[in-house]
């Protein structure tokens, strides 16, 4: 790894000699260009959110016309939303599914990531390689057998059926294994000398030390489960068990969708992921950093 930058710098040098040192005006122009590019990107990224929030205050007719200012229909939209769907129940469904799935996924997948990295054996390395290969198998390939399995177990239309297939996530196992490479082994040795058992080391030393990694994983896993669409669409069949994602999706495919009410719903549906992101975001980048090291 250390050799690559050296050779790269060596190949770059002859080019440098031929280039005239850039002038100050050019540097300034380039800086302006960078700011312009980033500002456009930031605008494009944020605009739909602003649009969504403004839309929640406008009537459907105004939204379709492209009205981009705050309107007066917020209360009407909220009332329609809460009378048309059993919002508390639906949000509760989403929260239980995403919450339970996130906790289970973090525990099961971080245990596995730690296990693969800390206790190496030839067999386990082979299994790990096999898992990475399986990462490329699309969910579509498992969908039908999974559905038939849950149907035979009489678990169709239950939360367990939504959660169980997501808990052991190969991607998160891989992520934790990468992050564990940065976990100082002296800590584990010291804990062992202090007489801690392996599971105690994991829960009392590893977990607190790796909290940035857990924060980043929480964002990713919660987001994935909250937004999970295809599998819940198949397995949840009665309206009172559906998640907010499914319910709003159904509203938008109505013959004449009431966009004001729908955008009000989407604001509510986006809030949990946004809140989790902003609470954990400082740790998030740190956590990703740890995994790529």
């Amino acid at each position: 790894m250390n050799v690559a930058p050296m050779t790269a710098a060596a190949t770059a040098r002859p080019i440098a000699r031929r280039t005239v040192a850039p002038g100050k005006a050019w540097a300034l122009a380039r800086r302006a260009l960078v700011y312009l590019l980033l500002s456009i990107a930031a605008f494009v990224s944020v605009f739909p959110f602003v649009w969504m929030m403004i839309g929640a205050t406008n009537s459907s007719a105004d939204i379709i016309k492209g009205k981009a200012s705050i309107g007066t229909a917020l209360i009407t939209n909220a009332t329609t939303f809460f009378t048309q769907i059993d919002a508390i129940r639906i949000f509760w469904n989403s929260a239980v599914i995403a919450g339970v799935a996130t906790v289970l996924t973090l525990v099961v997948s971080s245990l596995a990531g730690y296990g693969f990295e800390m206790f190496r054996s030839r067999v386990r390395e082979r299994i790990f390689a096999l898992l990475l290969l399986m990462l490329s198998i699309p969910f579509a390939a498992m969908m039908v057998p999974l559905f038939v399995m849950f149907a035979q177990a009489r678990l169709v239309n239950t939360f367990a059926a939504v959660i169980l297939p997501t808990v052991a996530s190969i991607f998160i196992i891989f992520y934790f294994r990468q992050a564990t490479k940065a976990f100082p082994s002296e800590l584990r040795d010291a804990a062992k000398i202090d007489g801690l058992k392996e599971w105690q080391i994991f829960f009392y030393v590893y977990m607190p030390v790796m909290r940035s990694t857990y924060a980043a994983a929480t964002i990713i896993v919660f987001m994935t489960n909250w937004n999970n669409y295809l599998w819940p669409l198949i397995i949840l069949q009665t309206a009172e068990n559906k998640t907010i994602t499914l319910i709003i999706s159904a509203l938008t495919s109505a013959y004449t969708p009431d966009y004001g009410m729908i955008l009000f719903g989407t604001v509510l549906a986006t809030l949990p992921t946004l809140i989790i992101f902003f609470l954990l975001q400082r740790r998030f980048v740190e956590g990703m950093l740890g995994a790529v090291k």
Partner: protein
């Protein structure tokens, strides 16, 4: 003797840590995969099927809807992945400059789309790209177009909207991987190159790209998998039909239709899903080859 016992205990502890994940993966992933592989050789409707050998593969080659879906999926992949990876890399490099102001703000803004719920963003995009929606109005106001574009009624523009939407959503996600990797690069290398007068683009080409290669490969493979499995966006943007006239029908949507919408043909839909597996395997292999070639040259 004591050493052997210790090694043995270490060995068992290793299995204990990975056991819960392995049991779950075995039940909910490996078993269904093997089942679906077996299914792909069965023919018949509903739960009545019989062994059909390669009949399903033969059916694939004669199925115009499948070929359409394959073409669409491939179009999405070929156009969308390179655009997104390039943009993500550019933003990451720009944001890695410690003298840049408002870095945190830019980073959060660009990352924001991937935190949003699928449903929020498909709803927003649907209303923004409506025929008299805000996008058409803005484009007409600056005279780029004379008459409104039928984003969801024209086969070409429908594909464009899907590509814009997934790029919007996932660029920030990929950017974070690059940003994290960039922060691991020793700054003194850049300093040295700068003092030697290496211009910015050359630093990017000969320092940044080679050092980010493992991460670029990783994100490219992940994005390839994601794009080849594209379902959520298409299903939501087109009310589940992959329209107009199958122009946005993807392989995953076709599998869904074969299984849950039409008279279920489990064997054939399993075969179509294995087409995705084979495609991902081939494309990932090619990407690994390209990454390795560059290293030796």
């Amino acid at each position: 003797m004591a050493q052997a016992r210790l090694a043995r205990r270490e060995h068992l502890t290793g299995w204990a840590f990975i056991a819960p994940a392995l049991i779950l993966l075995g039940l909910f992933m490996i078993y269904p995969i093997i089942w679906s592989l077996w299914m792909s050789f069965q023919v018949g409707k509903g739960m009545n099927f019989s062994f059909g050998g390669l009949a399903n593969i033969e059916r694939l080659t004669k199925d115009p809807v499948f070929l359409r879906a394959l073409g669409n999926t491939f179009t999405f992949f070929i156009i969308q992945v390179p655009i997104m990876i390039t943009l993500a890399l550019l933003f990451a490099v720009a944001l890695n400059d410690s003298t840049l102001r408002f870095r945190g703000l830019f980073r959060t803004a660009i990352f924001l789309p991937c935190v949003t719920s699928l449903i929020a963003y498909s709803t927003i995009f649907k209303s923004m790209f409506a025929t008299d929606g805000v996008v058409n109005q803005a484009l007409m106001a600056v005279h780029i177009i004379g008459s409104p574009i039928g984003w969801f009624t024209d086969p070409f523009w429908a594909k464009v909207v899907i590509i814009i939407a997934i790029t919007w959503r996932w660029t920030g996600y990929n950017m974070i991987f690059y940003l994290a990797a960039l922060q691991n690069i020793d700054r003194s290398i850049y300093e040295a190159a700068r003092i030697d007068g290496v211009p910015a683009w050359a630093r990017f080409r000969y320092l940044t790209i080679p050092m980010l290669k493992p991460v670029i490969l990783f994100t490219t493979v992940i994005s390839t998998i994601g794009t080849l499995q594209l379902f959520d966006e298409v299903y939501n943007f087109t009310a589940g039909n992959g329209g107009p006239s199958d122009s946005t029908l993807t392989l995953s949507l076709y599998i869904y239709n074969l299984t849950f919408k039409f008279m279920p043909s489990f064997g054939y839909s399993a075969t179509v899903s294995w087409v995705i597996v084979v495609l991902v395997a081939i494309l990932s292999f090619i990407q690994f080859l390209i990454a390795r070639d560059r290293r030796t040259s």
